[in-house]
Symmetry: C2
Subunit: 124 residues, 2 copies
Amino acid sequence: MEAEGERYTITDLAREFAVTPRTIRFYEAEGLLAPERRGTTRLYGKADRARLAWVLRGRAVGFSLSDIRELLDLYTPGSDNRAQREAALAKTEQRLAALRAQRDAIDSTVTELEQFAATLRSRL
Amino acid sequence: MEAEGERYTITDLAREFAVTPRTIRFYEAEGLLAPERRGTTRLYGKADRARLAWVLRGRAVGFSLSDIRELLDLYTPGSDNRAQREAALAKTEQRLAALRAQRDAIDSTVTELEQFAATLRSRL
DNA sequence: CCGCCAGTTGACGCGAACGTAAAGGTCATG
DNA sequence: CATGACCTTTACGTTCGCGTCAACTGGCGG
């Protein structure tokens, strides 16, 4: 089976995710994407689209591109020996801890901004 | 009253918040801090300390330094006419919306990473 | 007075994440 | 066949957030 399904051009994805084609090519140069080619033109499938979505959400939560590459590499099992899986688990849990801390920081900031907004409204 | 209270040196604050003095000076150059001087040496008070804490938490949630400066400027009322307060309120609520969106992104990512961690553990 | 530490101001450097030409290939359409 | 739309690569430019000297200035202990 030759992976039937939607194919997207680079500008399709760029529009859908509100980034520039340049950005998508840059992610490919960084090893985050690897679309097929028809000639020289890139052709993206469902999986590529999902990876791109992952990358962009990673970026939205503050991950660096190399962070994201690392996580994506964990997702795609590769040669699966025990030590590698344990390392992957450890790294994943580190990320989780950092994310929860970040969410706490966001919550504090939100609370503070809400109070500030309230006092602003009260003075109108 | 001459604002009695603790005074901190730059390295005091640097240690307390786990940043380098260079970082603190940089924030001052960016207009985020404005400590007193005894001669040329910087002296930080409680308010400066609080501002620094704000800056660092802002950075932790992904704000740029100019974002942070903007928010700090809103906090310090300045010349308080009605239009300005309404603008401040609008900007504050934009920030709030962005922060909530970011928290949602974090929650999604956390959920996904948790599932991934679970499958990793099940394969050990 | 000497050395040393802690502070200061430039000024240049750097990695990350793209933007922005410059120069060209390919394909449809009039 | 020429024009335009869309794709490509190569390569240099830019912004942000500091790091890293370099060179200097007090203040303090011995």
